[in-house]
């Protein structure tokens, strides 16, 4: 048997040659004729000739970086890391002896197409904006918390909830109340985890604590005298600030004595303080002001066109999903129920569930645009949408804010407008189809029409906007 091989490693100093040597030795022991091309820091040595490749029965690529395979089309090609060749060269060669190695470039059309797509994706991923990479990292760790929290709350609301003037309430001493609290616990971690793992993606482990602390501060308005936290958008901001500060401190040159305590002591403490204080004293306080401003602005809108108000409320409810803007709109609607204007809450109740329903639908329709864990999050989002937990769409919005937030806002605006036009009224401060099930909605037909239209618009718009984005294979 005759083989050719290429070895290569990141620095091109050691592994390249150890792998080559090991392959040579293993081949010699088996009586296999092998030619190994080394692509190291010296450059390419022992370059494979056309004739050598043509007469070879197989190709071993033991490389930690991409090697062009086009010249090996039609040959069995085995791709491994350089370390694999060092550690188990024998096994690799046995795979050729047993004819277990797949021929490169002779796959079925579909397989090959898939491979080209994957390679393209890999290329795009490498070129991908690092901001998106950090966001995706945060989102992937946040998703389990959203799913656990959202589904537990959804189950306890739908099975143990009662419709009261104060919204859907779960009797305090009931079993479902405990489940609801567990769900609430998971939700509390959502923003800190998002921020923490964004920061960790930027600055490695020293970024984790600053990110989580920053995220917690962002999510808890009490730190900066606000009724509402800064929501997931605040969490994203906190994560990036924490991460970049930690990375910046990491690059500061320090005396050797201090070096060992940098990653566990100095960087986390300094970065946590920095991000926490920035949030409390610089970013946080305007949030309270913005909320007040928005509230009085909304109150001033009361006399104007109902439809316009529905559009504005739909946009506000969906903009930050649980953040300050959403909260202002929600409290506004809730307050007006008691003033005899339940139509305002009707528009909000319709808009509130379109982000999770819409993004859930979007991820079901076009799986290719969504990573594996996003697809799972999509299914959970549908369940959350049905009971009016708008947070279900946060993973999507956090991963790709510039495409997703506009989509869900337009969807929410449509739902709000339709509900207003149809005279939908909601007598409890809660949203989503579940409210209709509890009999708190007037004009149920228009309520569902508003939700369905809003959901479909959200889904279509999100997938159209995402066309320009390729998602990594999970």
């Amino acid at each position: 048997m005759k083989l050719v091989a290429i070895t290569s490693c990141p620095n091109g100093i050691a592994h390249t040659y150890m792998a080559a040597e090991k392959l040579n030795k293993a081949a010699e022991a088996k009586g296999i004729d092998i030619t190994v091309e080394t692509q190291g820091s010296i450059g390419v040595e022992n370059e494979l000739t056309e004739e050598a490749i043509a007469s070879a029965d197989g190709v071993v690529i033991a490389a930690d970086k991409t090697v062009d395979k086009t010249r090996f089309a039609g040959k069995p090609v085995l791709e491994v890391a350089s370390a694999d060749a060092i550690r188990r060269a024998d096994e690799l060669l046995e795979q050729f002896e047993n004819g277990e190695v797949e021929v490169y470039g002779e796959k079925s059309g579909k397989q090959q197409a898939q491979e080209t797509i994957n390679e393209e994706k890999q290329k795009k991923k490498r070129k991908q904006n690092p901001i998106y990479r950090h966001l995706m990292n945060g989102v992937s760790y946040m998703i389990p918390f959203v799913v656990v929290g959202g589904l537990l709350i959804a189950i306890s609301l739908s099975l143990g909830g009662e419709s009261t003037p104060d919204g859907l309430q779960i009797p305090e001493d009931s079993f479902w109340s405990s489940i609801n609290q567990l769900g609430g616990a998971a939700f509390q971690f959502m923003v800190p985890i998002l921020a923490g793992f964004i920061a960790m993606s930027i600055a490695d482990r020293p970024g984790l604590a600053p990110g989580m602390v920053g995220g917690y501060v962002a999510a808890n308005g009490s730190f900066y005298g606000s009724d509402a936290g800064a929501g997931f958008i605040g969490g994203i901001i906190a994560g990036f600030i924490a991460g970049y500060i930690a990375r910046w401190i990491k690059n500061v040159k320090v005396p050797e004595m201090i070096q060992p305590i940098m990653p566990i002591l100095i960087i986390p403490i300094a970065a946590s303080l920095a991000v926490g204080l920035i949030f409390i004293f610089i970013l946080g306080s305007p949030i309270a002001g913005i909320m007040e401003g928005l509230s009085s602005w909304l109150e001033g809108m009361q006399g104007s066109s109902r439809i316009l108000l529905g559009i504005i409320l739909g946009a506000m409810i969906t903009f930050d999903m649980g953040g300050p803007v959403n909260k202002v709109a929600f409290l506004f609607g809730a307050a007006l129920i008691t003033e005899g204007q339940p139509e305002i809450m009707g528009a909000i109740a319709a808009a509130i569930c379109t982000p999770p329903l819409g993004m859930g639908l979007a991820s079901l329709i076009n799986k290719r645009r969504y990573a594996k864990d996003e697809q799972e999050a999509g299914k959970a989002a549908v369940a959350m949408g049905l009971v009016g937990i708008t947070e279900g769409a946060i993973p999507f919005a956090a991963a790709d804010p510039l495409r997703v937030i506009p989509s869900i806002m337009v969807g929410g605006m449509s739902a709000g407008a339709i509900a207003m036009m149809g005279g939908v009224a909601d007598n409890v401060p809660h949203g989503g189809p579940v409210v209709a099930v509890f009999g708190a909605i007037d004009n149920v037909l228009m309520f569902f029409l508003a939700i369905i239209v809003g959901t479909i618009i959200t889904a279509i718009l999100a997938n159209v906007l995402k066309k320009s984005k390729v998602v990594e294979e999970a």
């Binding site: 990141p10 620095n11 100093i13 050691a14 592994h15 390249t16 040659y17 150890m18 080559a20 040597e21 090991k22 030795k25 080394t38 190291g40 820091s41 010296i42 450059g43 930690d64 890391a81 370390a83 060092i86 550690r87 040159k253 050797e256 070096q259």
Partner: protein
């Protein structure tokens, strides 16, 4: 050029004090620094650690070859350390490491003779007899003699 231009008595430690990966990296970087081949040992150490993070340089057979191309290095040098009781190195085969070859390479070096020697060393390390001789070397002279089998 021969390997003796990259390593000498001063760069060999037959009984490493360190019993962890980090301690040994520090110890060997110190040897090279004393030799005068570094201009910035922090930079070099951090480049080494960066390389370790990409994948462990514990290649199995009880050896590890931490190596870095770094702006902190002026001159190519090799430091050899031995700890016969074995040190955890996250090796590919899970075995503890007894022999550590720390390789310092300047980020930009003229010529590639030194790289050829490192190549020879890497290849030679795959040879069982060569490794055993290094493990059994009783003096620094023994070890240098074994190493100078590399041409």
């Amino acid at each position: 050029m021969s390997i003796t231009q990259l390593i000498d008595h001063q760069l060999i430690e037959l009984d490493l004090a360190g019993d962890s990966k980090d301690a040994i990296l520090q110890e060997l970087v110190e040897l090279i620094a004393e030799n005068g081949a570094l201009n910035d040992r922090h930079q070099f150490l951090s480049d080494l650690q960066k390389r370790e993070q990409e994948s462990s340089t514990g290649v199995g057979f009880e050896i590890a070859i931490p190596h870095g191309k770094s702006t902190g290095v002026d001159e190519t040098k090799i430091a050899v350390g031995r700890n016969l009781s074995g040190v955890e190195w996250a090796s590919l085969d899970g075995e503890p490491v007894q022999l550590v070859f720390l390789i310092a390479v300047p980020a930009e070096a003229s010529g590639d003779e030194h790289l050829k020697i490192l190549q020879q060393l890497s290849r030679k390390l795959m040879d069982d007899d060569f490794r055993n001789a290094l493990k059994q070397a009783e003096t620094k002279d023994n070890m240098l003699n074994t190493l100078s089998q590399i041409d």
